[in-house]
Amino acid sequence: MMSNNRERINTKVSNSTEHGVNFTIDLVAENALLLSWQAKISLTQHNEIIALQAMITQQLGELIIETVASYHCLMVYYCPQLNSSLQVIEKINSVAKNASHKHSNGDDQDNNPNNKLAHQAAHEHCIKIPVYYDREQEWDLADVAKRCNMSMDEVIKQHSAHTYHGYALGFTPGFCYLASLPESLQLPRKSSPRIKVPKGAVAIAEQQSAIYPIESPGGWHIIGQTPLPMYESHHGQFNASIQVGQNVQFYAISKAEFLALEQGLVE
């Protein structure tokens, strides 16, 4: 009974690796497909995901309601009243095959000179985020230093020496998951989340860093605060300050600079 069921119930619809496409597709809801790549944080893989996301949005237009990217997945929403899942899957596969065809017509991604240029351009457009790393121990800087077995200065130095990549937006509007944090700073989430994390809090957890766009609950370790807003909106549009696929660096500022910037932005 059960084994019969298991076969009928199987929702794996596509294992596309044999076509040079590196993801699988699962039917995860009546109106959603989940494309999954290898469960790892990899810049090359993520660039492939967001490139495919852009092509799906462009080429499949009205078929698609929404796409949401993360480290190793792409969720695709469509309208089941209009299109069968199989139609949508077929189209996604054909978009992906064309894309991988273009890539493989030469060399792999990392050796492709165009890709190198793209990477360089992305680095030049690195977003610089000023952070007041709070030494007054209101938040978690001292605790993080202790648990990572280093000085607070060293935590600041390591956190701000690194370039991060935006892998996903989520949790709250404009909250961008940035990776990867240097291994020496990696800690599990706090065992019990804070009820209130302030707007602009710069926090770390596991391999990730992020900035809280609005006051909200949160379970990450807060090491500082930025005066920069994490979103802007006008004419009914919402723009996250850090977009998926962008690169980010943090730099330390003093409390006085923090207050000046914060006030300057308020005026």
Partner: protein
């Protein structure tokens, strides 16, 4: 002119403005949000418009512009009253709050006429959670606000952003569109129209839609679930759960029913499988998350867009509408369904209710 409104004059529970939500803004991190129980929400809109549209909807913008998606007030656990500043025609559905217009009890799942100065009061419902109040012509909400990213739906965690008006409270005024002449003032033809609106009944009887007691949730299994051993799958499907008090529009938390708690060493999900699921990924409506304590969390309308727990499968949407009306203490269990079956159920549901 935005003169006509319903004003909240007493409130002792929760209420918010809801429509079918903003599925299309999840890539920015916005919750999809939307009416918890689409059966009651769409029934309210259908009662009041009596429009039978089974045309396919092209995309979310068009879904949101459809008559059936006019924003309604979602009232949770009743205990609220409104005063009408002008004549209007309303429909009430969902949890039965023994609604009274000027102290006279009126039927649930029906259209009613309010005159200027009338008061409609909702009591605490004896069963279920969410009731819907829709209005002919649709609410334009508090300050005639524009839909935000295609929807007027309010999300608790996003109210601080200020894009969807203020949280509803005593004194909140909910403006309604004046494009539709209130039926009360009243050519004979319109009076007949009101009588015929009052005669409208839901296309599916609510008694047939909602479960009497225990609800068996039909889930589409995830890839992870299919990797579990047959014994582990059976163990999950044989477990009876109780809805925890710590459940809300974001998610329903379940506990294993106390009478049948199994030995703690008998884990449903092995560490080996669990370790494949460490990275946060996009999540959707109805996903069954399975944290270390093996007490499932079912993601509901106000879910966040990303999640980090292993997912065993996705509850089909028509069962989620049923689940959203169940209170803490209610009993649920899971059974499997295929994707095409779930999709067919949803298609049939929308054909009846749009």
């Amino acid at each position: 002119m935005k003169k006509n409104f319903l004003e909240i004059i007493t409130m002792n529970g929760q209420a918010s403005i809801q429509d079918l939500g903003r599925l299309n803004a999840q890539h920015l991190g916005f919750s999809a949000s939307g009416a918890a129980d689409e059966f009651a929400f769409l029934s309210a809109n259908k009662l009041i418009t009596n429009k039978l549209s089974i045309k396919p909807v092209h995309n979310i913008t068009k879904i949101n512009n459809k008559l059936g998606n006019d924003a309604a007030i979602e009232i949770t656990l009743g205990q609220i009253s409104f005063k009408a500043s002008a004549a209007c025609t309303i429909a009430i559905t969902g949890a039965d709050c023994q609604a009274k217009i000027n102290n006279v009890t009126v039927n649930n799942w029906q259209c009613h006429q309010l005159h200027a100065g009338d008061i409609i009061a909702f009591a605490m419902p004896k069963t279920q959670l969410h009731s819907y109040l829709s209005i002919l012509g649709g609410f334009t909400c508090q300050t005639a606000q524009q839909p935000w990213l295609g929807s007027l739906a309010q999300t608790v965690n996003e109210m601080a952003l200020g894009f969807t008006g203020e949280a509803l409270m005593v004194g909140s005024k909910l403006y309604f569109s004046t494009q539709n002449q209130p039926l009360a003032e009243a050519t004979p033809a319109q009076t007949t129209q009101l009588e015929s609106l009052k005669a409208n009944r839901p296309t599916t009887a609510p008694d047939l839609f909602y479960p009497k007691q225990k609800l068996t949730l039909r889930i589409m299994p995830s890839r992870l679930f299919l990797q579990m051993s047959s014994a582990q799958q059976q163990q999950f499907l044989a477990t009876e759960y109780v809805i925890s008090p710590n459940s809300n529009r974001m998610g329903y938390r379940l506990h294993v029913k106390p009478s049948q708690t199994s030995s703690p060493d008998k884990k449903i999900l092995t560490q080996q499988l669990r370790s494949q699921c460490l990275l946060s990924m996009p999540v959707t409506y109805g996903m069954v998350q399975f944290p270390d304590n093996e007490q499932p969390i079912i993601l509901m309308k106000e879910r966040q867009t990303m999640g980090g727990y292993p997912v065993l499968g996705t509850v089909m949407q028509t069962d989620l509408f049923r689940l959203s009306q169940m209170r803490p203490g209610g009993e649920v269990a899971f059974t499997l369904i295929t994707h095409p079956q779930a999709q067919q159920q949803l298609r049939t549901f929308y054909q009846k209710l749009y």
